[in-house]
């Protein structure tokens, strides 16, 4: 039902920005492949077994700019993340492997 877990963040004025916990600068991210793709489309894990290439793209993104500056982020959101795993998959994996579709 609810995706809200954990305690509300409390902290100094500077840090108290989120209804959800802010993300640490050094965080490890895993992809859970949901929602399911329609049956007529190959899923990301079929195009990218183990989503290895997608993870690499995400890690590169995390190393570059993972988290938005606090002043730019409204409260109670997940907007501290600066990337979309689906977009990264389409840009970095699907775009390079579309030729493997037979």
């Amino acid at each position: 039902m609810s995706d809200f877990k954990g305690t509300p963040v409390i902290g100094t004025r500077e840090h108290y920005q989120f209804g959800e916990d802010p993300i640490a600068q050094k965080v490890q991210v895993s992809i859970l492949e949901t929602p399911k793709m329609p049956s007529e489309l190959p899923s990301p894990s079929k195009i990218d077994p183990g989503l290895e290439a997608t993870k690499m793209a995400i890690e590169a993104q995390l190393a570059r700019n993972a988290v938005a500056p606090l002043p730019l982020v409204p409260p109670a959101s997940t907007r501290w993340l600066r990337f979309s795993p689906l977009e990264l998959f389409m840009e970095h994996v699907l775009a390079r492997r579309l030729w493997t579709i037979e």
């Binding site: 100094t12 840090h15 991210v29 859970l32 949901t34 399911k36 982020v73 699907l94």
Partner: protein, 1070 residues
């Protein structure tokens, strides 16, 4: 005679002066003579016009016929003798003219050179007559029949001679076929199939435009007579020197610029022509010459002649143009704003009535020889509307051979490089073309040698320069007024990173500088691009749907913009919200599909579906441009191998299918957008599906909007497809009429599936409807391109749209999102706290709202129930890590009247499901500071209402604020005093607690703080809760003061919010 050699000041006749004077030159010019009587330099000596020094050699010459006679180094002026430093050369007309003159068949008519003079001797002609020959060429040169032979005849206006003294020059015609005799039939000896052309063809050329390209070429096999055995073709343009304003300073002393770049050379074959370019001004003449090798290893002219260009006008450019440039990965569209405000995409050469951008001095007819790469700037652009300029650059050399910034900048447009409008023949290596240079990362794929930022910048700069030149040439071939200033608006894809954006900005800057030199006009590019491409498109058209979804699928990227139409028009509670809900961009354009057809990579045909002849991306892209549709492309046996058609179609399904998925998930994200309050409650304040509906007491927040006579509840999205990448959607239309219809259908189906699979969808509601309610309709409509337009035109037109120059620009574009923002799309698991972030959550900082524009909506509230007595304070628990105030209500707040001020009579009670005040959504607790801020923003209205009620404005505002406190507390099941105390406690703790504290540390801090608060409250004879609530109330009411005069210092920033960009601190200068 005496009037020819006298002083014009005192009338003294110098020919009567018996003396010999040493008459030296000063440079190439003779020194001025001064009158020995009055020292005036206004001395006119007729003989000095007949004996003159040559401009190039400086040697003195006199005409053998009709000139003045005398000793070899003396000019006799009556009794006066002027002795020059060297022997005066005697010149004959045969020496300055070609021995033979060619005749050309041009457009079915005979065309001969206007003057038969060799370029080096043009200065020996009378300047006024040379000018006349350019303006009225028909007065000079003709073909005559003489004793059964055709000959060329022309009157030579030799310098210094009187008109009656001008000799007639006659010579043979130069036969196209050197082995055929001149039997008197002019047409038999004429050259055919030869094109001599100049670009641009300005309708009213001015001195300001300085860049010209001239080419001579065999259009047909007959035209190859230009390169007949034993002869060499040499073509040169003669450009007058000019002053700072570009005005020519001489008609006869011209600079010679060779057409030295071969064209049409392919493999072992020879060239089919030559091309040259000048940036020094409009050529006056083009000299076509035929040379023959001499025994000494040199070459001598055997024939030739001069073809004139009409002179430019003396007017100065004064107009101002506005361009909107959609610099696409595969194609570029440029729109222009006319003087009457109308917008139009530039389509050069469209229609027969339109003037061509190429001026044909000789027209060899439709070309049948297609060799090599054609870089000529004129001609039709691509696409059904002829307004697509391929974003490609061709070069006469391999691009890898000019892989440096300086080498690229040294190339001349139209001569060494250009936009290959007609593509390259199959024999030309793809190394001569470069495409997708909008993206460094695409160049890395295609031509790694060019994959450096400064080289990409140079390529972009040269392309923008060429595109602007071609556009300006197109307009000037029809418009008379040349521009003094050209304002160029351009956009960028949000997928650009900072480096990409900086590269484009610098490229535009460089192009502007170069264009100023070439055209004389100031091409003003903004310091940074105004808007991203999707936003630019959004400015082009209005809408009556809740959301417009702009999907720009270009060659390189897919731009997505979900535009909130209610916010754009300040409707239904969305005032002040930025219209851009989501705005994102991915490097996933039509080239992804095309590259998949080419195979694993350039030169690696694994997985390829295309025939080997189109085995490179550039060739395939060229084939796509020339194809009527993507479906036709797939059916073409020359492009797609028969056995691979089904695979090619399958890839198109995956390509489009993932785009549908991306769009559907983004729209689902709009529907499911929410946050959480610090208490964990659902916060829907950012969900754009809610709108304020009804009037008066019936006004309330609803999910979606009521539409139609039945007032059906609906959520509307309207798809606007932009960009030519959607052409690939034709492959998978599956019977739908248009790609737009197909997309709307698929997105609708998939959106509903996604919502049904999401648990939270049922939580998002207004108390009457929720997202999965079958009575709530989802309307996914679409907009078709306007008649005669196409999907790519909207961005360029949008850049010139009216809103970019109005207040809208400041409202919506100044506060645009700093980077992409959309939905995650896939679930994420973060290991920091073991959190799962669902796929529909947004990422990226949003566009900035304008809280001052928020609609103040005060719902009706019933008087709060009497507060319950306070239980024992929970604060004293020494190590309570949980937030305090979890117990029920607190006592009446001290400092407040025992009974709250009498509230105005409310017309109706607040519905149970209604949210808290000030535009909040169900479950959303609007910060009290924002409520107070909104009240202050409406102070004049508030003061008027207070006056009606007979109370002060401050008191009335306090009552309003208290209403909000009561309503919010009621929603949370608390007493208002407890709510205030809780908020105050939280504020205190914010200042005390540091991140990274352990629970034990946190408990200790809370305990210490509570001890302190309790002690203070005890001193005042209050409970801790009453003390905190009073503190909070005082802080809030302190905000309820009349706002300062906006003209003196503006409104203070909203408490708890960062100051708005561009807004000075309170009281500071604006």
């Amino acid at each position: 005679m005496e009037h020819e050699n006298h002083c014009e000041h005192c009338g003294f006749d110098l020919s009567r002066l018996e003396m010999t004077v040493l008459f030296a030159r000063k440079g190439a010019e003779p020194r001025k003579l001064h009158c020995p009587i009055c020292r005036s330099d206004r001395v006119k000596i007729r003989a000095l016009e007949r004996v003159f020094p040559r401009a190039d050699s400086g040697r003195w010459v006199r005409w053998r016929e009709g000139g003045v006679a005398g000793p070899a180094n003396v000019i006799a002026v009556g009794r006066l003798k002027l002795r020059v430093e060297s022997e005066i050369e005697s010149l004959a007309k045969e020496q300055i003219c070609f021995r033979a003159v060619p005749v050309f068949m041009s457009g079915g008519e005979r065309q001969i050179p206007v003057l038969p003079v060799m370029p080096e001797y043009l200065d020996t002609l009378d300047p006024a007559q040379v000018r006349l020959a350019r303006e009225k060429p028909h007065l000079f040169g003709r073909v005559i029949q003489e004793r059964g032979k055709s000959r060329y005849q022309c009157v030579l206006p030799l310098r210094g001679l009187k008109q009656t003294e001008w000799p007639t020059y006659e010579c043979d015609l130069l036969p196209a076929n050197p082995f055929s005799p001149n039997a008197g039939d002019v047409d038999a000896v004429a050259f055919r199939g030869v094109t001599l052309r100049v670009w641009p063809n300005l309708k009213r050329p001015t001195h300001a435009w300085r860049y010209y390209v001239v080419g001579i070429q065999a259009a047909t096999e007959e035209g190859m007579a230009l390169f007949a055995q034993g002869r060499m073709l040499r073509t040169r343009m003669l450009v007058p020197p000019s002053d700072a304003d570009g005005r020519p300073t001489s008609e006869t002393k011209l600079e010679v610029v060779s057409l030295d770049q071969e064209v049409g050379r392919e493999g072992e074959s020879g060239p089919t022509g030559f091309v040259g370019a000048t940036r020094k001004g409009r050529p006056a003449w083009v000299s076509v010459e035929f040379m023959q090798a001499t025994q000494g290893g040199g070459a001598e002219a055997v024939g030739g002649g001069l073809f004139p260009l009409p002179p430019p006008s003396d007017s100065l450019p004064s107009d101002t143009w506005s361009f909107g440039v959609d610099f696409g990965t595969s194609n570029t569209v440029i729109a222009v704003k006319r003087r009457d405000g109308s917008l139009q995409c530039v389509a050069p050469e469209r229609g027969r009535d339109r003037s061509s951008t190429t001026l044909n001095l000789l027209d060899g007819g439709p070309p049948t020889i297609h060799r090599g790469i054609d870089l000529w700037p004129g001609g039709e652009w691509s696409g059904p509307s002829h307004d697509l300029l391929p974003s490609e650059l061709g070069c006469v050399r391999k691009w890898t051979d000019v892989a440096s910034e300086s080498a690229i900048n040294a190339l001349s447009f139209g001569k060494d490089f250009g936009v290959p409008l007609r593509g390259a023949s199959s024999a030309v290596s793809s190394e001569h073309t470069v495409s997708e240079f909008k993206w460094l990362r695409a160049v890395e794929k295609d031509k790694s040698a060019l994959a450096r930022r400064e080289i990409v910048q140079a390529l972009q700069s040269r392309f923008l320069e060429g595109a602007m030149l071609m556009t300006a040439a197109s307009l000037l071939s029809e418009e008379e007024a040349a521009p003094k200033t050209v304002n160029v608006n351009y956009s960028f894809p949000l997928a650009f990173d900072e480096g990409d954006l900086e590269t484009l900005r610098l490229a535009a800057d460089e192009a502007g500088t170069r264009l100023k030199q070439l055209t004389g006009a100031d091409f003003v590019f903004p310091a940074t691009p105004l808007v991203d491409e999707a936003q630019a498109a959004a400015g082009h058209a209005s809408s009556d749907k809740m959301f417009r979804v702009y999907l720009d699928l270009g060659g390189g990227s897919l731009e997505l913009l979900v535009d909130d139409n209610l916010a754009r028009n300040n409707h239904q509670g969305h005032a002040g919200l930025h219209p851009h809900v989501f705005s994102s961009s991915i490097f996933f354009g039509g080239s992804v599909y095309l590259r998949s057809l080419v195979g694993a990579g350039e030169g690696d045909r694994r997985g390829a579906c295309v025939m080997p002849g189109v085995g490179s991306y550039t060739r395939l892209a060229s084939a796509v441009r020339q194809s009527a549709s993507a479906k036709a492309l797939l059916e073409s046996p020359h492009v797609i191998a028969e056995a691979r058609k089904s695979t090619a179609e399958r890839r198109a399904r995956v390509f489009i299918g993932y785009i549908v998925e991306y769009v559907a998930r983004s729209l689902a994200g709009v529907c499911l957008e929410h946050g959480r309050t610090a208490q964990g409650a659902l916060d829907l304040s950012r969900n754009r599906l809610f709108s304020l509906s009804g009037t008066g007491s019936q006004r309330r927040w609803i999910l979606g909007i009521n539409k139609g006579p039945q007032q059906k509840r609906v959520v509307e999205f309207c798809l606007v497809l932009l960009g030519n990448g959607w052409g690939f959607g034709d492959i998978v239309r599956d019977g739908m009429k248009t790609v737009e219809q197909m997309m709307a259908h698929r997105v609708y189906e998939r959106l509903l599936e996604l919502l049904r699979e999401t648990d939270i969808a049922q939580d998002i509601g207004d108390g009457e409807f929720h997202l999965l309610d079958p009575r709530l309709a989802f309307d996914i409509s679409y907009v078709l391109p306007t008649e005669g337009s196409h999907r790519k035109a909207a961005v360029a037109l949008g850049l010139l749209g009216a809103h970019h120059s109005t207040e809208d620009a400041a409202r919506f574009f100044k506060n645009r999102a700093p980077e992409r923002h959309g939905v995650l799309g896939l679930d994420l698991w973060l290991n920091d706290q073991g959190r799962r972030i669902p796929w529909y959550r947004p990422f990226g900082p949003p566009a900035q709202d304008d809280p001052s524009q928020f609609e103040v909506f005060v719902p009706v509230v019933e008087a709060p129930p009497a507060p319950a007595p306070a239980p024992a304070m929970p604060f004293m628990a020494p190590a309570a890590p949980a937030m305090p105030f979890m117990a029920p209500a607190a006592p009446m707040m001290p400092g407040m009247p025992a009974a709250m001020p009498a509230m105005p009579t409310m017309p109706a009670p607040m519905p149970a499901a209604m949210p808290s005040p000030m535009g909040a959504f169900p479950g959303f607790a609007m910060p009290m500071e924002m409520v107070a801020f909104a009240l202050v923003q409406q102070w004049p209205m508030l003061a008027a209402q207070a006056a009606q009620m007979g109370v002060s404005a401050v008191e009335f505002a306090q009552r309003q604020l208290w209403q909000q406190v009561v309503a919010q507390a009621a929603q949370m099941g608390q007493a208002p005093e407890r709510l205030l105390a809780t908020q105050q406690w939280q504020k205190l703790m914010q200042t005390m607690v540091m991140p990274g504290m352990t629970p034990e540390q946190l408990a200790w801090v809370q305990s210490q703080q509570m001890t302190f608060v309790t002690a203070q409250a005890t001193q005042r004879g209050q409970t801790a809760e009453a003390f905190l609530a009073a503190q909070r109330w005082e802080q809030l009411t302190a905000m309820l003061t009349p706002p300062p005069d906006p003209t003196s210092g503006g409104f203070p920033p909203m408490p708890g919010m960062p100051p708005m960009p561009g807004t000075p601190p309170f009281g500071g200068p604006r």
